[in-house]
Symmetry: C2
Subunit: 329 residues, 2 copies
Amino acid sequence: MKRVTIYDVANEANVSLATVSRVINGLEIVREDTRIRVNQAIEKLGYKPNAIAQGLALQKTTSIALLIPEASFSYTGQIINGLLDVAKIYKYNITLHTTSEAIMQIGDIIENIIKSRVDGVIIYNDKLMVDELTALTKYQFPIVLVGNQMSSANIASVYVNLQKAMYELVSSYLEQGKTDIAIVQDRKNKYMVEQLILGASQAFEKKGLVFKNFIEIPREYRSSYTYLKEYFKTHKHELVIAHRDSQAMAVINAAAENDIKIPNEMEVVCVMDTKYNSMIRPQISSFAIPSYDLGAVAMRVMTKMLNQNPVEEREIELSYLFTPRQSTK
Amino acid sequence: MKRVTIYDVANEANVSLATVSRVINGLEIVREDTRIRVNQAIEKLGYKPNAIAQGLALQKTTSIALLIPEASFSYTGQIINGLLDVAKIYKYNITLHTTSEAIMQIGDIIENIIKSRVDGVIIYNDKLMVDELTALTKYQFPIVLVGNQMSSANIASVYVNLQKAMYELVSSYLEQGKTDIAIVQDRKNKYMVEQLILGASQAFEKKGLVFKNFIEIPREYRSSYTYLKEYFKTHKHELVIAHRDSQAMAVINAAAENDIKIPNEMEVVCVMDTKYNSMIRPQISSFAIPSYDLGAVAMRVMTKMLNQNPVEEREIELSYLFTPRQSTK
DNA sequence: CTGAAAGCGCTAACAC
DNA sequence: GTGTTAGCGCTTTCAG
């Protein structure tokens, strides 16, 4: 099929290309009959406006870049879905970019994003990447962070206050006199885990105690599970907190292998909620994080910023809900 | 930061924009010293070529659309990762599009993709969507299907032969005299399940038998699990096959709740392999499907087609490997 | 209400 | 080697 341009349509309908442009953009100032004529021509020729050319002329691409850490789809999936759903509504396209562990690449990715002239960038990441952020900041476009609290002139953020969540959870355990509480490291989500530790430490402090049970998975262990299996031979806690479902499962399995009964001898809480938490036995207690909403709201804020609408709140905190299951008493 | 164009760079470096263009495109026919001068100007002004303008001029966007079913990230994650890694190498951008159950939207999505003038489309989907495919076919660009076997002038595909996998698996059970084999429906992956049934039926036929244990989850059940819990009160099979991990887990859990011992009283196999299969206890036997490679190869084939390279094989079959775990004897 | 023409930023002949 | 110029397809004043 030959490329059919606005020009062909104009010819076919015996109008100027300006008129065709008006029709496809729904401008009211076109007479009924010529509009119909143009539409027929469009139909007949199978004309589809070239978004690239429009982008050039309008200086905007109606597409926004999504930056997420590599291989994180299982817990990013809902966020992406939320994002895409509202992107669809506002007719925005999403370009997908992943950051791998190799820091090197990140510069290239940013460069690539800038060249692509997206209208905005949505970033979901563990680490705050301050440098990269400022690099992006230079280029006008709005940035929405999901998961991290932070804002500035053209940066907004949508997040869940994990620190508070952790503070509340840990506090409630401390109230019960349970002070042997541990957090499992999640290398892939360094920033998140920092928040967890902060919240826990705060709760401990309030009780005049010090939080110190951070279970670090040594580099040489391929998986948390292999390490934890050893770990629980000689350790046991009243409560173990993990960030992701797979880590929580590793805890559950490793504990089981060492005959530690859950929840009676040890309780387990997973922070991020996924469907897998309720699929394993015992089902894992977790925080219901509104992942879908995180994405949806982020995209919504983005569209507001793009339309120069006043954004009342640049730091939007979404609520969580602790969902007790079988892994806690 | 003001928009800086190729023109500004040309001015700054006292050359014509053509020369700047040559430099940024790495054409050799530029003298050393002027190239350096241009590069300095680029550096100084912080110039980044406008990919949109390039796209218009070159009639290609170096970006390709990825179309996947909504909410399928958990089992599509690896595919996307493979895709993106290769895309990065070849400097292609990926735009993400998801299809929801509502068929209505699909037309809009296709329309959108066409308008965006991507160089190609990669589709991962359960159903073959023949209509939509032909709609896309009209528009020149190459299409790569992942998961489905199919090809034509500008359509290639990368897939795993699940039918064969199923045939082999079921055959081996039939050889052992185990004929009570069931497959669990997966609504989200209709096409895949069809293949499973085909393979199983074939194996049965060869033995002069008929396969008929297709466990259909009634519409009214929110989840497979709630249905299966009832189902296994009155049913038991020698082998149950599920497509996705979550379905297999539902089987395992529902069986356990009805005191059916796995694998002794009933064996379970999951087709698609995810990390969760080995996280649940008993660990679920499954086929190791090279998801990452599916994505990577798909993208590689795409680049070949885009560069008019001869594509030796338009239907690329990747191999699977049965990985026995605790859910089978 | 419609048309003419300039311009969005860049590439690619074609001259010099 | 480097500059000139004509597009790429569309939007948008500005006239009429």
